[in-house]
């Protein structure tokens, strides 16, 4: 059965207990924009319904975790309310902007690029050219404040995650990839993925409103920059200027 891309797929939600204070509304087990659309539409619908006792929601790639206070609403009643809402999720509310993020794929910004290129049996330039031409989708934030979890990697770049995390931390703005996805690090943390570039943008800034720029559902495209531009833009970002530009 073929499903037009513009309409939500007929995905039945599963309602699963996550302890006594949270319920998972799960739409699938794949990284799929249509599944994620349903997640984001449901997340918006739950917010709109303002159900008494719902504390907050965590939308992720393929499910929404609904945190609630069981003293205000029972789990059974909450699931009943969520099922009511889920009858007609409106995917038109999902954010569909496009952002241009500058990424430097050179030198110390791309610590694992050569290793990854060897693993894939292609030149480093080819890896960069494929990666920087892709249209990514922001599926969710997770892992750390402002960590961009994106899908849309070119299939030629598929690589599994490392058996063990790299010994050194990823620098702020580090662009990592593995398992068909790309992530951008907002702060220095370990990773089991490959570091292939770095953005000068501050992806999470408490002193800026909004604290994050892109919303799940948005697309991200890359502007390739060299090491000198990286330094210039890093100084501009530190001075509070926005480096990422909205292009759609």
């Amino acid at each position: 059965m073929s499903v037009p891309d513009s309409s939500p797929p007929p995905l039945a939600a599963k309602y699963l207990a996550a302890g006594d204070c949270a319920v998972v509304v799960e739409y699938g087990s794949t990284v799929d924009p249509r599944v994620n659309d349903r997640v984001l539409a449901m997340d918006a619908a739950v917010a709109k319904a303002a159900i008494q006792g719902v504390i907050e929601t965590t939308p992720s790639i393929r499910s929404v975790l609904v945190h609630f206070d069981p003293l205000q609403i029972s789990q059974v009643e909450l699931i009943r309310r969520l099922q009511e809402i889920d009858v007609a999720p409106d995917c038109s509310v999902v954010s569909r902007r496009r952002w241009l993020i500058p990424i430097c794929y050179e030198g110390d910004c791309a610590e694992d690029l050569v290793e990854l290129a060897d693993k894939l049996g292609m030149s480093a330039e080819h890896v960069v050219s494929l990666h920087s031409s892709a249209v990514f989708r922001l599926y969710m934030y997770g892992f750390a404040p402002g960590y961009l979890y994106m899908g849309g990697n070119p299939p030629e770049l598929y690589v599994s995650r490392r058996a063990a995390p790299r010994p050194s931390l990823v620098a702020i703005g580090g662009v990592v990839m593995a398992v068909g996805c790309t992530g951008i690090y907002p702060c220095p943390l370990p990773t089991g993925w490959y570091v292939i570039g770095r953005t000068p943008e501050r992806l999470f800034a408490l002193d800026r409103s909004p604290i994050v720029l892109c919303q799940p559902g948005d697309e991200v495209v890359v502007e390739r920059i060299d090491r000198t531009q990286f330094d210039v833009l890093s100084r501009e970002a530190a001075a509070g200027q926005a480096i990422v530009r909205r292009v759609g």
């Binding site: 207990a17 006594d20 997340d43 965590t58 393929r62 029972s74 059974v76 934030y141 892992f143």
Partner: protein, 336 residues
């Protein structure tokens, strides 16, 4: 702050509304003790308090008189060298020195002051997020030389020492089984591993922090579905099992999302009890369900709302009785 270990942080009830941007909730490890200390002072139950680890702290009252409440596991509390009871409201004057050291059991205790600790709100909360490096005092744990003040200063002059005893039964040590609700990914586990979870004994591993409590004990076996899931949201108390088969209970500073299957989750009424476990101590689990968990939480919440019933002014019959039982030795000299 005269002395602090490395695990002392400011925590209110946690940061709400920003999980979607990857921001951890933080908040207290033992919400029950945290709430008890705050309520004993008449604070909001989720007001910002100092969370003290078994490393302990030493505090000096400066500038003005101050009321202070504390509640948690078994710690050794002294004021100017005199032993205090295990949970209480005390009065301090400039120069008074409070020392808190690990006792025979428990991992955390909470120090509350009127109105809460006056630190800036970051994303709507005063909780310290160590991994995010914000909240509390510059996103870090407390250190010697830090100065903290109450949001609602004590204006009257008060006499140093014990003011009110908190004799709350829910703060006592409990060796009852920790109750769990299966899921959301129990289908990623071998059925025998689920049986084992409820029948075998686990021990808290040495690897323990605000992010998670690792368990030693029987290794979990994943089903043929493997141990990678598409990352999804994580509730506090979720028991996550990575490929190694060693489980970790995810606690206050957990990441908002994770990519390993979660076999079960600890019910909220038992989170505090779990949090008070120390490395090497035994843990046994019992299967629960949402309805039972709700009853347990409702009972606990009812008790917390009646915390006043468990307070007795120092010198009253109740505390004299406890003194007679030698449970609160040193109370008299603390007041003299």
């Amino acid at each position: 702050m005269l002395r602090a270990g490395r695990g002392e942080t400011i925590q209110d009830s946690g940061r709400r509304g920003f999980l979607r941007y990857g921001v951890p909730t933080a908040g207290p490890m033992d919400w029950v003790a945290h709430s008890t200390a705050n309520r004993a002072l008449g604070n909001e139950p989720g007001a910002a308090a100092i969370e003290v680890s078994i490393a302990g702290i030493d505090l000096m009252c400066e500038v003005a008189s101050l009321r202070m409440a504390y509640a948690g596991g078994d710690f050794v509390y002294t004021c100017n060298g005199t032993r205090l009871p295990n949970a209480a409201v005390i009065c301090l004057n400039p120069g008074d020195h409070v020392s808190i050291k690990a006792g025979s059991w428990g991992a955390w205790t909470y120090v509350a002051i009127p109105g809460g600790m006056d630190v800036p709100l970051v994303l709507g909360s005063r909780s310290t997020s160590l991994s995010s490096q914000f909240g509390g005092l510059d996103g870090r744990s407390l250190a010697r030389g830090d100065v903290l003040s109450p949001i609602a200063p004590t204006s009257t002059v008060i006499r140093t020492g014990l003011e009110v005893l908190i004799a709350a039964p829910w703060l006592e040590r409990s060796t009852k089984r920790v109750r769990l609700i299966l899921g959301p990914q129990d289908d990623f586990f071998d059925p025998a591993s689920i049986e084992t979870l409820f029948h075998d004994t686990y021990f808290l591993a040495p690897r323990v922090n605000r992010i998670g409590y690792w368990l030693n004990g029987p290794t979990f076996k994943h089903s043929s579905k493997g141990y990678n899931i598409i990352s999804d949201g994580i509730a506090m108390g979720a028991i996550q099992v990575p490929g190694s088969g060693q489980a970790v209970v995810l606690m206050a500073d957990r990441q908002p999302t994770g990519g390993y299957p979660k076999i079960a989750a600890v019910i909220r009424a038992d989170l505090g009890r779990l949090a008070q476990t120390r490395p090497g101590e035994e843990l046994r689990f019992e299967r629960s369900d949402p309805a039972q968990a709700r009853d347990a939480l409702s009972e606990l919440d009812g008790n917390l709302n009646r915390v006043a019933d468990y307070l007795s002014a120092a010198g009253s019959t109740h505390s004299e009785y406890l003194f007679g039982c030698n449970l609160i030795d040193g109370v008299v000299s603390a007041e003299s």
